[in-house]
Subunit: 107 residues, 2 copies
DNA sequence: TTAATAATTCGATAGTTGCCGAATTTTACA
DNA sequence: TGTAAAATTCGGCAACTATCGAATTATTAA
C-alpha cells in the first residue's frame, strides 16, 4: 500500500484557494463547472459555457464575472473566450493537490 | 476499479467549511492540528494542545480563541477542555467528505 | 484563599467582500 | 455599419471579518 507522504502546504496559496470556494454562489459556480468537467471527461466536452450556468444562479452578470475572476485567480479553473461566450474548465492539477491535503492513511 | 459516484454537495455547508479555512492564520491552526492528528494516529496522542500552537502564530489569544470557534463551528475539529487547557482533534468524518468532493476518476 | 496562567468575552475599528446598476467593451450578424 | 447579446469595468454601499486591548472567567497550585 502506498504510504501517505504529503508535500508541505503553501498556506498563503491554500488560503486563497479556500477563500475562492468560501462564497455560496461562487462555490455553486465552481461545482457546476466541476460536474461538467467530470460528466464526459473522455470526450472533448470538458469545457462549459458560463452563460448557461448563470441562469441557475440568483446573481447578476457583473457578480458572476467577478466570481469567475476569483476562481481563475485562485487557479481553480481555466477560462477561454469562445466568440461572445466565456468557457471554463477545471484545473485538474490543482484539484489533485487539494485532494492530497485531505487524503489520509486512516480509513 | 471503484466507480466514482459522488454524493450531492450541501453547498451552504461546504461554503461554511471553506470559509473556515480561508483565513491564513486559521488555516495554519487547522493544518497544525491535522499534522498532529496524523503523526501518531495509532496511539492515543491524536489531540493537541492549542497553547503550544499559539506560540507559532503571530496573533493574540483572543483571535486564536475566535478562530478555534470557527473551526469547531464548521465541524472541522472537535475540542475538549483538559483542565486549564484546550485540546483539539480532527473530525475525520468531515475530512473524508471533503476529500470526496475533490476526488476524481481522472488521475 | 490567593496568585498565576489559560482561555474567553466584549467593544471597537480598519479592512474586506458581495452585490448591484450604470456605463463600457467585445463580438456576431443582419 | 448599426444593433443586439455577452461580458466586463466602475463606483458605491451594506454587511461581514480579523484583529486588538481590556476586562472577565476558569482552573491550578502555592
Amino acid at each position: 500500500m502506498k504510504k501517505n507522504v504529503k508535500k508541505p502546504v503553501d498556506v498563503k496559496r491554500a488560503a486563497k484557494i479556500f477563500k475562492a470556494l468560501s462564497n455560496e454562489n461562487r462555490l455553486e459556480l465552481f461545482l457546476e463547472i466541476l460536474k461538467i468537467n467530470e460528466t464526459c471527461f473522455e470526450t472533448e466536452c470538458t469545457e462549459c459555457f458560463i452563460t448557461d450556468i448563470m441562469d441557475t444562479l440568483s446573481i447578476g452578470a457583473p457578480t458572476v464575472s467577478h466570481h469567475m475572476k476569483e476562481l481563475t485567480n485562485a487557479g481553480l479553473v481555466i477560462t477561454e473566450r469562445k466568440g461572445k461566450f466565456l468557457t471554463a474548465k477545471i484545473n485538474d492539477e490543482l484539484i489533485k493537490e487539494l485532494s492530497e491535503i485531505f487524503s489520509s492513511d486512516k480509513n
